[in-house]
Symmetry: C2
Subunit: 127 residues, 2 copies
Amino acid sequence: MDRTTIEDAIFPDCPIRNILARLCDKWSLLVLYTLNKAGKEPIRFKELQREIPDISQKMLTVTLRTLEEDGYVTRTIYPEVPPRVEYALTERAYSLLPRINALIAWALENRDPIMKDRKAFIGKSRN
Amino acid sequence: MDRTTIEDAIFPDCPIRNILARLCDKWSLLVLYTLNKAGKEPIRFKELQREIPDISQKMLTVTLRTLEEDGYVTRTIYPEVPPRVEYALTERAYSLLPRINALIAWALENRDPIMKDRKAFIGKSRN
DNA sequence: AGCAATAGTTACATTTTAGTAAGTATCTGA
DNA sequence: TCAGATACTTACTAAAATGTAACTATTGCT
């Protein structure tokens, strides 16, 4: 659970290094996006797994814990059997999500030309 | 130079996995931000290094190449001695940057409460 | 008694990413 | 002749992130 990664001593206040770097891993954006897509209703662990079928149980746990740590999601445990744990987005997440969605929309709009450039670059670098 | 990372076979069209994932590494956002900060004038390799003092030469090269590959920066070599290589942002980068800057601004605004939550979480998890 | 269900944890292995240090090329100026 | 400048590349190492598989707990159901 030690995801201190890029908390550099040189730039302890840099918002990129401190805040954004933690969202920049393999799963965080995807989990936030998926929770948001589900609407305002909280969503269970298992359901999240179904939505992101290639995430491992461990990484879903780790990702959710990190998001909780930074206050993007809440975790509510219902002491039932079998256990029920629900995850919901916080106000902080809702204030961030428009920015993330703008980024996703941009990525979608620009995906094809980017992919083209990416492929073309192979030839270029072999020159 | 094989940064295919999260190009998952399951979701080959996902903009998060394909486009954003490549910007989500330790240095890409910082390099884009730094190039942008410098204004519209191109900037030399060495100068970028001075602006981001803790990036290694190798990672600056790798990061710039990936950004070039996806069409965010151009690389212009001037055959002088000592060599001069200038990097500049493309139109694509300029269309992306407002979104990134919005994210950075959000991160800056929310940094203090997030850091607070992050610290408080330690105690919570030991309960 | 034994299995199913959910939401984990843990130890371990693998993969990916990043850092280090040395080497390359070329010309200039002391 | 030899250091200095720039922009790299390369081989190697270290560290971090992620994946895998097994294990935990509890209760209801058959």
